[in-house]
Symmetry: D2
Subunit: 385 residues, 4 copies
């Protein structure tokens, strides 16, 4: 398939944060081109946004419905290959479902939907259509996260005993949703964000990362879920005790009222023989600790890394990559998988290493369970699926 994949974007108009990130991620490797978009529910804004992105006027649609319908009538190779959905949570399900119905592959921001029920419907639809869905749990796109996962899977640390993941941010330390902060406004509004604020927004990332690296599944939780800032409608902070399916214990902290923190996702995974530590804000470093030997500093680009790390790296050691490249790895692997499919080739395991609809259902399940536990007087709740 000697061409770039064609992307139709839903959401991500002027001033949207995550839409711009998605476009950069799609651009980086030159595998994808922006083909069309319904950038806003406001047709004017959608048109203006598309123009800024150098799209021809007829590729700037007034609504996602129009886009999906119109594009579906174009011949293969001329129509979009997939939609990228970058709207707030409440506006994920409908366009995703419609895109699948019309035969389009889907890339979608997390959490996958507003409710678990919606997520399960999408899961069913993906299964039925055989189309590809990619969910952008960015942090699993980092090469050193993949290295970590591989080392655990290779049993280099023996049985995993404990997982500590924390995700403190400080940007919701004040009631900024009342101060014309658009990002704050929708993320703290139940009608747009769902039943959870902080746990949905970043707790899901932390849970996904913990399960991704450890290869374990959370099996029980005991959650302390808090609204710290007075006047807020959704949780902005929480601490969660975890049990995993192999008997390991763990702890997950997510907070958006951790004043002075930026985006300080950190994870530590302890096994019988050693452990791992990774910090998102210095993502090219993975600390590998041992019982009786010096801690090692594994670095992105190192010749000693597993091939899965190199597959997700673009530069030699010491030329730092970051968040946008991790995001781009999701796009790249999705694109490689989609191209393989379009060309009738088998996708390799490396290509297939991106979160999908099952991760989306898992994330919604996490939200449901953690909020239920937060309200419960019972200590441990089984993690219901």
């Amino acid at each position: 398939m000697n061409r770039k994949l064609k992307m139709g974007m839903i959401g991500g108009g002027k001033n949207a944060f995550i839409g711009a990130v998605h476009r950069i991620a799609a651009n980086i490797d030159g595998l994808i081109e922006l083909h069309c978009g319904a950038f806003s529910s406001n047709a004017e804004i959608s048109k203006a946004s598309g123009k800024d992105l150098f799209l021809p006027e007829d590729k700037c649609y007034s609504s996602y419905e129009e886009m999906i319908k119109t594009e579906s009538n174009l011949p293969a190779g001329k129509r979009m290959d997939f939609v990228s959905i970058v709207t707030p949570n409440f506006a994920h399900f409908a366009p995703a479902m419609m895109a699948l119905e019309y035969g389009f592959n889907v890339l979608i921001d997390k959490p996958i939907t507003l409710t678990l029920d919606e997520a399960k419907k999408l899961q069913q639809m993906v299964k039925e259509t055989g189309l590809i869905l990619c969910l952008t749990h960015t942090y699993s796109g980092y090469p050193m996260v993949k290295q970590a996962r591989k080392m655990v899977a290779d049993r280099q640390f023996g049985k995993i005993r404990k997982v500590m993941v924390e995700y403190p941010q400080g940007w919701l330390s004040t009631l900024s949703e009342k101060d014309d902060n658009k990002q704050a406004a929708w993320r703290t509004d139940p009608s747009k964000s769902g039943i959870s604020g902080c746990m949905g927004d970043i707790g899901t990332h932390a849970a996904q990362l913990a399960e991704y690296i450890s290869g374990l599944k959370i099996s029980k939780i005991c959650a302390d879920i808090n609204i710290v800032v007075e006047g807020r409608q959704l949780d902005d902070d929480g601490n969660v005790l975890l049990k995993f399916d192999n008997g390991a214990n763990g702890i997950l902290v997510a907070s958006q009222i951790a004043a002075g923190e930026e985006n300080a996702l950190k994870i530590k995974v302890y096994g019988e023989k050693g452990s791992l530590e990774w910090h998102q804000m210095e993502p090219n470093t993975l600390l590998v600790k041992w019982l009786d030997a010096p801690t090692q500093i594994y670095r992105a680009g190192g010749g000693y890394l597993d091939p899965i790390a190199a597959f997700n790296t673009r530069t030699p050691g010491g030329h730092p990559e970051g968040y946008l490249e991790a995001f781009a790895n999701l796009y790249k692997n999705f694109a490689l998988t989609l191209s393989a499919k379009l060309e009738g080739r088998e996708a390799t395991p490396e290509m297939l290493d991106f979160p999908g609809v099952d991760d989306g259902v898992r994330g919604m399940t996490f939200i449901e369970n953690v909020i239920a536990s937060g309200k419960s007087d019972q200590k441990w709740l089984d993690f219901k699926i």
Copy 2:
């Protein structure tokens, strides 16, 4: 009082870890001299240990009972001024009680006793005798911890909202108590250590540090207490959800099976306007974070610090002090307080800033509560005193 204070040591014979640390801490500032000792329950070992320490033979006692009785018959200025008790937990109470009964001040390693009941008896005895008792919660002796406490007390961060304290060690990752590791053996033996292993040994440090810096009191807990290494008798790991008396939430993790970790005590305290972060393994640095301004690196020795930090520092900035100096600060402040008392002067607030018998009771209370919560199906237990 133009002389050094005279110390009688109980425990700390050859090869004991913490005894040597106590002696260094007592030596550093030249305020205290080792006057006598009952270094072991084995009279031979006690004598030999004393000889190595250059004590005259008649100052190497066969038992603490002999030491306390004999010394109490000496005139003031010739007898010991205080005892330093550095035995395992089970051998704290009896010598402490006897020392107090005979009118000697007491310095004692933590946790203060084997049981809460013993601790309360000591508390009562201290109250009755008016003698001074110092409990060596080392970590509160660091100058940057004192700086942190002062900044919180000065309300520089507004109301405290969240406290995260973690204390991972890896040295009990294997069943080393079966491998002739003396330290491991007594610390994992209920008859010597009490009802808790990890929580008693290091969880108490973490709890004390959290309360010391934040100025808050833990009011509710929900604990997950684990024996991770098969065959062990006491907890070697635990995760605890916390509520504080001002409504703040928190988390406390203590583990001795965190393979690859040394002594990685870390604390973060979040307020409305900013936060603090301190790592014991880089103790001269205190990170001070703000909502809308760059994080600041407060450093021991800095001219901008509160006088309480300078009072507990011996060197200029960039000449790192460490664990032994923090330990020495407890001895120094205890010694200054005791000297003031002996000379009829009032001790200053700086001198009085060392943990005492109330902290000891608090620590034993923490152990009782956290173990009770670990066994309970109820989510939150009130922190009973």
Copy 3:
């Protein structure tokens, strides 16, 4: 000008390192499209490389001469807007000169040419044609470097007194040019690299960064230039004493035999009142130190930064950007400047903040001077221009 700029690439065929980096940098912001290329001096490889990049066959030229001539015959808006030259040093001058002669703007990797003489000719040509030339001194594209430059220019540290810049790499610690390492081979070959190896390859980056941040010009040098690995033809290591035009002193170290180092460019700039420290491998952090106040951690994305930092940043604080984004900033600013020119608008100072032909001449001057000093017995040589 409602379209992307069209780029014609010279060099950067299959397996080339820096060509791929340039393409990513050009892609990121969606302002530039790859329009055509002469990716290799081997026509077959050029065609195959272009195909991999999804170029139509007629846009994959057999030589840069063919590309420049053919494109120059196309109408504006259909022909390439600029060439990007990513060949080894010896193959910079001829295509650059020809491109300028045919009216094309030029973006070119550093060092600008093989010799100072060539650089001066390019400088003259740029002056005569009024065309735009961008030189990819990547490290000056980082937002925190721009922040640093601004703070110095604003005299926040008073007069600058000392600059320490070091650039250690370890990748040439062995004679890898004999081991089929293509990158090593041309960089250590005088006919392809010029009179200097290490100083030309990375010393020029260090010198440019020192002058860029400090706002000073090197006025005297005293260089120790070494071939450390036996059998190598060009310098692989050097230490240089510096004097700047304001009287400040400095030191520049560049080495490619610093075994175990990745790409560890670091700079410290000391003024009367404070200083700056920046590490390329943790590029989102700028340490700002003061005489009598805590060191501050300035972070990319911080709301307290100068607007020039935000102009060169794509993500909020804590979402790390890296080398590719710094590189992309050069492309972006070049593209914005070029678009402004094509549309008859004035470029803003922010847009114009990219290295150009004068920096190229300066870099070649640095190489000439540093190699001359390395051979001289005289201590200080005036930095001749």
Copy 4:
């Protein structure tokens, strides 16, 4: 010899910085007792200082001459065993010489004397008397420095190729010698400090550390020596190119006008196969880097370290030691060596590992050479001995 060694201190009266450090260092291990002192050239201050240190009045001498003479008349075991000289540089030679003449061992702060000539006389006298002299180059007392030296000596990195040592401080950034800063006053006064300020005070430490770890000797230098702060009499800054006797190159930077720096001594030593990096301000960590394997974090207390590191460590891993313990290692090793001698035992190589009079001569030679080079127009000067 079942007793502590008796120390007579010269200098170090009230408010002296380094005297207090020496006393702590002597105290820590309980091997030495303060026996007497001539703490000041002012007899009143000497008496008062001794009283504060709990010395009996007759052990507080009015002058070092009085102390040496009086003590020499006491019987062995009653008189002091050694003198500790902690005065400013200009007052090192006379008391050291006299102490040796009267048969006392000597411990002395660095640099050893005011001039090279004096140092050579001391060297001769030590040789003749067979007495022991210890010079307090503190930084070679750190366990991780000793680990580094051992790894180099064991050829773990192959031939050493390059050494980078830097020692920036900021405390003389202003003309503080005019502001009643006693430390600044004598250190910038040629009559008290000698021909060099910064290079004598801290450059000597850097040079000693470089030679100590690398096992190499500086053979040529090219120095840029500066008085940066107007009105100052001695150098406060310098950059030095180095050649070592095995052909390795190096760089040494020492500065006391590096605004915002504390005591930031750092060293990197590069060999053929790997390299070492050590920072004095985080002294318990030694980075060990390799050509093709992850960097290792060697940590004080690690079971994998060479025995020489454990011999100079008092606490388990993660219980940080610092500057005072490094200083104490010099005292300890000196004391063990002296005790062995007094008891007719052979000192072990571990005990003998402290700087002595030869290091003192070497340091004065460094000062002479570096100042001469600073004044010379010739590029490289042979390092004359």
